[in-house]
Structure formats: structure tokens, C-alpha cells
């Protein structure tokens, strides 16, 4: 029997965690001598005050939906993929490879091909840690962290030595062909004669992300594979008993996870920069952890959490411009959200459970 009603479990617990994280963040801001309420106002205004701000928020949210889904799929198999950052970097490499070296006459073709390439590259980068976890029991957390660093090395090398155009100093690839330009929210709004989202980077990939949420929801809760992944996550021995091969399932879950993280690249590389630059991922791979935890590993929760973190990210960037609070403040908030929604879950939950038990007894 559930102690708490479902709405409390799904809405109240994450909400209280979030509020606790925000209160502590405001304490931090106050401690370094800035006005927390002013900071909050700047952030809210930057993220939601204009269609352009919303465009930025949704652009970041798109990144976080992909990485959040990536972490969530692995979590369902009780695996902790914190290599989203490296997988997204490699996904970017995949996107750049197809966009630079293959003719892509129309953006629809570019989108499909780039999606496949990014997913394959991201999954390939997850394959070795996945294999080592499945076969050798090497701790996935440590191996994926190492692979994040190695990915950065690979990317720097390729940008410096292979993809950098002749005579350029900046370690970045050439701009992709004009034909691969994905419609941004600005383009789409103009089609309907609406002047909005000026120069905001949000683009059609947002809808791809939403579609992936649906796909993952179907996969996890309505297919045999999803059932097996969840079974493995609940109990490996039970899963084995039911004839599930844990080695195979671990591999598949992590490959899907890596592919999703890699797909983030169609948003930030193809959709926004339209070329491959260093540090294109901007820590989105790590934010995926917070997003997945806050969204309770459910696609709907992930969308909401991703938009929330999109607001935070956009707000934090503007905050760093307007005040003396550095952009790393976002990492602090992210850490607090992970702490409260992930590790200190019982601290929030226990008093709530007691409260609901008490009210129920009184009603009975």
C-alpha cells in the first residue's frame, strides 16, 4: 500500500526538494554579498521575459531533454551513466563528419542523417564502458568519467589537426553548408507572420526531443525490451531467473543511453553553432543527471525538469553578465538539486509520509 497519494509522490516531493535547493542557493548568493531576490528577478526576466529569452530557455531545455533521457534510460537498468558529456561530444563529431564530408541537399535530409550519425557516434563512445561494465564489472561511473576526458582529448586533436580550415587559428571546424540549416523558432514564427524569437537558438530539434520522449516512454513502459530493462534494474538475480541476459541488457541499455546523449549534438552543433567548436556541450551532459533525478526518470518529468534547468541556465548566463555572480552558480544549484532530489530523498519524504499517515488515520 502506498503511504502517500500519487500526486504527492510525483509533484510534492520534487517540488519541496527544488524549493530547498533554491533556498540554499539564495543563501549562497547572499553570502557572497549579492542580493538574492534581485538575482532571482534577473534570472526570471532573462529566461521568460521575452520570446527571445524563451527561445534560449527552450534551446537549453532541448539539450537537457536528450541528456536527461540518456541518464534516465540507464537509471532504469540501475546503471549510472555520467558519461553523457563525452557521448554528446562524440555525437557532435558524428554530426560534423556527415555535414562536412557528405552532400546534404536539404535540411530534412540533414536532420535525419545527422540524427543517425550523432546517435551512432554517441552509442559507440558508450560501447566500451558498457562492455567493461557488462563483462568485467568495471565500475561504469569511473570508466565513463575517464571517457569524458578522453573524448575531450579526441575532440581537441581532431579540431586542431583534421577539421580546422586552412589558415584558421581557432580550433573549430568550417561552417556547414547553407542547405543544412535547420529551421529555428524564428524562421517558423515568421512563416506564420509572427515576429518572435529573434536570434534565439531554439530550433526544430526541440520537437525531435519531444518525439524522443514519447519513443522512450513507449520503449520503457510498453515494450518487452523496456520491461526487461526495468526488471534488470529492480533485481539482477530475478532478471536472470526470468531468462534475461544481464550482459546483453546492460549493453543495450547503455547503448541507447549513449545514443540519446549523442543526439543532443543535432541541437547544439547542427541547430545552433552550425559548425563544431570546442566545448560545444557546455556541461549539458552533467545537467542530464539532475534533470533525470528531478524528473523521476519519466519522460514527462524530464521535459518539465529540462525546461526548468533551461530557465536556470539562461538566467544564470545573464546573471553572470549583469552581476558579479559567476556562471558557476548554476553548477551549485544543479548540485543542490541532485543532492535533494537524489541522495536526500528520504529526508524530504519521511516527514511527508508521516504527515499523510496522520491525516489518513484521522479520516478513518
Amino acid at each position: 500500500m502506498d503511504v502517500m497519494p500519487r500526486w504527492a509522490e510525483v509533484v510534492l516531493v520534487p517540488l519541496i526538494s527544488l524549493v530547498l535547493a533554491l533556498i540554499l542557493s539564495m543563501v549562497v548568493i547572499a553570502a557572497i554579498g549579492e542580493d538574492p531576490f534581485n538575482a532571482l528577478k534577473i534570472m526570471a526576466n532573462a529566461a521568460l521575459g521575452s520570446t527571445q529569452g524563451i527561445g534560449y530557455t527552450l534551446y537549453y531545455a532541448t539539450n537537457f531533454i536528450f541528456t536527461g533521457l540518456a541518464v534516465a534510460v540507464a537509471f532504469h537498468a540501475r546503471l549510472f551513466n555520467i558519461g553523457g558529456e563525452g557521448q554528446a561530444m562524440l555525437g557532435g563529431l558524428g554530426v560534423a563528419t556527415v555535414c562536412l564530408y557528405f552532400p546534404l541537399p536539404h535540411w530534412t535530409i540533414a536532420l535525419v542523417v545527422a540524427t543517425l550519425a550523432s546517435a551512432v557516434f554517441g552509442a559507440a563512445w558508450a560501447a566500451i564502458p558498457a562492455y567493461l561494465q557488462a563483462r568485467r564489472g568495471s565500475h561504469i561511473v569511473i570508466t565513463t568519467i575517464m571517457f569524458n576526458f578522453i573524448a575531450a582529448g579526441v575532440l581537441i586533436y581532431i579540431l586542431r589537426e583534421v577539421m580546422k580550415p586552412e589558415g584558421s587559428m581557432e580550433p573549430a571546424s568550417e561552417k556547414f553548408a547553407e542547405s543544412t540549416h535547420l529551421p529555428s523558432f524564428y524562421d517558423m514564427a515568421q512563416m506564420f507572420g509572427w515576429e518572435a524569437f529573434a536570434s534565439a537558438p531554439a530550433n526544430i530539434t526541440f520537437f525531435v526531443a519531444l518525439a524522443m520522449c514519447f519513443v522512450i516512454w513507449r520503449l520503457i513502459w510498453h515494450t518487452r525490451l523496456g520491461y526487461e530493462i526495468r526488471a534488470l534494474g529492480h533485481s539482477e538475480t530475478a532478471a536472470k531467473y526470468a531468462g534475461i541476459d544481464p550482459v546483453k541488457l546492460t549493453m543495450i541499455a547503455l547503448l541507447i543511453s549513449g545514443g540519446l546523449a549523442g543526439m543532443m549534438a543535432i541541437n547544439n552543433v547542427l541547430g545552433e553553432a552550425e559548425r563544431l567548436v570546442l566545448n560545444a556541450t557546455e556541461g549539458a551532459g552533467f545537467i542530464g543527471i539532475a534533470v533525470a533525478l528531478m524528473g523521476r526518470n519519466h519522460p514527462v518529468g524530464i521535459i518539465i525538469a529540462a525546461i526548468l534547468f533551461g530557465m536556470l541556465y539562461q538566467g544564470g548566463a545573464v546573471l553572470a553578465q549583469d552581476t558579479k555572480i559567476p556562471v558557476q552558480m548554476v553548477i551549485v544549484i544543479q548540485a543542490l538539486v541532485i543532492m535533494f532530489t537524489g541522495a536526500l530523498d528520504n529526508m524530504v519524504r519521511a516527514p511527508l509520509e508521516r504527515f499523510f499517515l496522520a491525516t489518513r488515520k484521522r479520516a478513518a
Binding site: V28, A31, I32, G33, E34, F80, I82, A124, A127, I128, A130, Y131, L132, A134, R135, R136, G137, S138, H139, V141, I142, T143, I145, M146, F147, F149, I150, G153, V154, I156, Y157, R160, E161, V247, K248, M251, F286, I289, L293, K324, I325, P326, Q328, M329, V330, I331, V332, I333, Q334, A335, L336, I338, M339, G342, A343, L344, D345, N346, M347, A350
Partner: protein, 387 residues
């Protein structure tokens, strides 16, 4: 390579190994008591920042060291509360602590010093300087001309900061505590079977908190070493994944103190090579032979196993072979000599590769060279008393 170069490399190895060793022993205490600690990295970083900041403010590195240990202890306490008291997920708590430290150190450094997330550089009594033993040579010119024994004594034995010697003493001390005291026995037991320890009337929660706090102290020393002895001040993300490499070393050492020292010295050597030899040049032939050799070995291993092994390792082999071929084509195009003679050309290994080497080797070691590592049995599981 002459003897002095080897001594210098050994010296650099030791210097690089000490923070790893301290963090590794920290992880050893925590994990032996059944608490996984991914947050070593964050604790080191927090300690590195606060020790540098306080050293700068007070001018005394010892007060700085205490402050660093205090910062690390605070994070340890949070980890303990999350994973022992509230029985939360230990991995997630550790990850949160890492982010917390990565963000807070920069935010606070910016708030206090306004130097782009770093502390002002330390000098004089605000730093741990090397201790020169009696009779040791200090000038490089003198050392170069000294006898090998003197070189060994002056470069490797003498001239380190006090924290290096503390780190080295920590190894036998940890061994003694873990294997020769009642506390150590109980600590190891609580990581294997907390229910049994509880039945014996010993407080599991208290014991685990003690382990987590010891871990905090050691991480604090490791962090202070980085910012006040190796470097003169804190810079953003200065721990550079050492916490995770320490964890890998811990697994490689199979959770034993003396082996931990060996593992950390090995990783220290990787870092020393990375620091010292930015330019490694090899004949193209060797690079090709090594890459193709690894591919053949991997494929050979995979073929005797399952379909999954063939797919993953075969794919990896294909990538390595492709890199070898591309390299060959590259040198052949660049030289006038024939395709085969061009294999004798020297190629420079990319600096990015050498920098990634410690991380690549960490993965290789984690892949299970030296047998399967089985950690403490109750590791990662919160202890729930029977009701």
C-alpha cells in the same frame, strides 16, 4: 636516459602520487566501511580552495591546512548524513558533492578575490616549502655532478614538503589501524556484514561516520597539498580528476593500503611522464605495430568469447587498425621514400594523446588487468536495522 633523469622522473612520480595516495587511502577507509565515495574529487577540490584562501588571508599555511581539512570534513559530513542517516544513494550523493565543490569553489573565490575564480598566489609562510635534509644538495648544477647515491638522496629523498612525508607515513599507519586495532577490525567488518556487527552490539552508524570522517581528513590533506605545496594557489578545477583516478587505484589495489601505494605510484608515473615528456617521438613502424598488435590480440580474445565481445572488441580493433593505416598513408604521402621505407620516419605522438594517457590507462587497468576486483560486500548498501 642517464641516472639523474631517472631520479628526476622518480621524484616527479612521487610528487604526483602523493595526492592520489592520500585520496586513495581516504577512499579505502570509507569503502572498507561500506560507504562508496565518488566525492573524493569534490572534497579535494574544496580543501584545495579553502586551504589556499585561508593561507592567503592568515599568512600561515598550517591554519590553511586545518581550514582545508575542515572544508573536506563538512562535505564528508554531508555525504554521511545523506548516505548513512537518510540511506540515500551513495553514488548520487558523491556526484552531487563533486558538483557542489566545483561550483562553490569558483563562486566563493570570485566573491572573495575577484580574480576569475582563483586565489591570489601564495608565497613564503603561506606555502609548504620543500624540506632539505642535512647534507642534501639543492642546486641543480651541483646535483648533476654529484654521485648517483647523492643524486638519489638529494632529489628523491630530500626536498619534499612535509605533506609528502605525511602521505608516505599514512600508508603504514592505515595498515596498522585497519589490521592491528579493534577499531580497524570492526571497520572492515561493517563493510562486509553490518548486521553481524550490529548483533555484536557495536553501533554501525557511529562506525561508518567515523570512517567517513577519516576519509574527509585525508582528502583534506590531499587537497591542501595540491594548492599549497604543488601549486602556489587555487585554480578552477585544479584536482583534474585525481579523485576518480584514486578510486581506480583503490580498485586496482583491491582495497589494501600497501597495494594502494603501489597503484598510486604507478598512476603517478603516468602523470610524471605526461608532464615531463610532452614530445614523444617514435618510428612510424612502431606505432603501426603496436596498434595492429593490440587489434590482433583483442580480436583473438573476442573470437574465443561471445557475439557481444566480437562486436565491441572487433569494432575497437577496426578503429585502431584504421588509425594505423591512416598514419601509414600520412607518412607515406609526406616522404619521398617508398611506402615501406616511409615506416622508418619518426612521428610525433599527439600531445592530446599523451595527456589522455593516464585516463586511458585507468580504463585499461579497470578492465581487469590483475584479476577481478571484488570490493567490500556491503559496499554501497545502506544499512537498515531489522525491525
Amino acid at each position: 636516459m642517464d641516472f639523474y633523469t631517472i631520479v628526476q622522473l622518480a621524484d616527479a612520480t612521487l610528487r604526483m602520487a602523493i595526492p592520489l595516495l592520500l585520496a586513495c587511502l581516504a577512499g579505502l577507509f570509507s569503502e572498507r566501511a561500506g560507504i562508496f565515495d565518488i566525492g573524493l574529487e569534490g572534497k579535494m577540490l574544496a580543501a584545495a580552495f579553502l586551504s589556499a584562501a585561508v593561507s592567503f588571508a592568515t599568512g600561515s599555511v598550517w591554519i590553511g591546512l586545518l581550514a582545508g581539512i575542515g572544508a573536506s570534513l563538512m562535505l564528508s559530513l554531508i555525504h554521511g548524513i545523506a548516505s548513512i542517516t537518510f540511506r540515500g544513494n551513495q553514488l548520487i550523493s558523491g556526484v552531487a558533492i563533486n558538483f557542489l565543490a566545483a561550483g562553490l569553489t569558483v563562486v566563493i573565490a570570485e566573491g572573495w578575490f575577484r580574480q576569475g575564480g582563483r586565489t591570489p598566489s601564495l608565497s613564503g609562510a603561506a606555502r609548504f616549502d620543500g624540506i632539505d635534509f642535512p647534507g642534501a644538495l639543492t642546486r641543480i648544477r651541483d646535483k648533476l655532478q654529484a654521485s648517483p647515491g647523492m643524486q638519489f638522496y638529494s632529489e628523491l629523498v630530500s626536498g619534499h614538503s612535509i605533506l609528502v612525508y605525511i602521505g608516505l607515513i599514512a600508508v603504514p599507519l592505515s595498515w596498522w589501524v585497519l589490521y592491528r586495532t579493534r577499531f580497524g577490525l570492526r571497520l572492515r567488518a561493517v563493510g562486509e556484514n553490518p548486521a553481524a556487527v550490529d548483533t555484536a552490539g557495536i553501533n554501525v552508524v557511529q562506525l561508518r561516520f567515523a570512517a567517513v570522517l577519516i576519509c574527509g581528513v585525508l582528502c583534506g590533506i590531499a587537497g591542501a597539498y595540491l594548492s599549497t605545496a604543488v601549486q602556489a594557489g587555487f585554480t578552477k578545477d585544479m584536482t583534474a580528476n585525481r579523485g576518480f583516478i584514486a578510486l581506480a587505484a583503490l580498485i586496482f589495489a583491491k582495497w589494501r593500503p600497501w597495494h594502494a601505494m603501489g597503484a598510486c605510484l604507478l598512476f603517478g608515473l603516468f602523470f610524471a611522464i605526461d608532464n615531463r615528456f610532452q614530445n614523444i617521438q617514435l618510428d612510424a613502424l612502431w606505432v603501426v605495430v603496436i596498434l595492429v598488435g593490440i587489434s590482433v590480440l583483442l580480436t583473438g580474445y573476442a573470437l574465443r568469447r561471445d557475439k557481444i565481445d566480437v562486436m565491441v572488441l572487433g569494432g575497437l580493433s577496426a578503429v585502431l587498425t584504421a588509425i594505423a593505416l591512416m598514419l601509414w598513408v600520412g607518412v607515406a604521402r609526406g616522404s619521398e621514400a617508398g611506402a615501406f621505407a616511409s615506416l622508418m620516419e619518426t612521428v610525433k605522438l599527439p600531445g592530446e594523446f599523451i595527456q589522455s594517457l593516464p585516463y586511458i590507462l585507468t580504463v585499461v587497468i579497470l578492465a581487469g588487468f590483475g584479476g577481478k576486483a571484488v570490493g567490500p560486500r556491503a559496499g554501497g548498501e545502506p544499512y537498515v536495522k531489522e525491525r
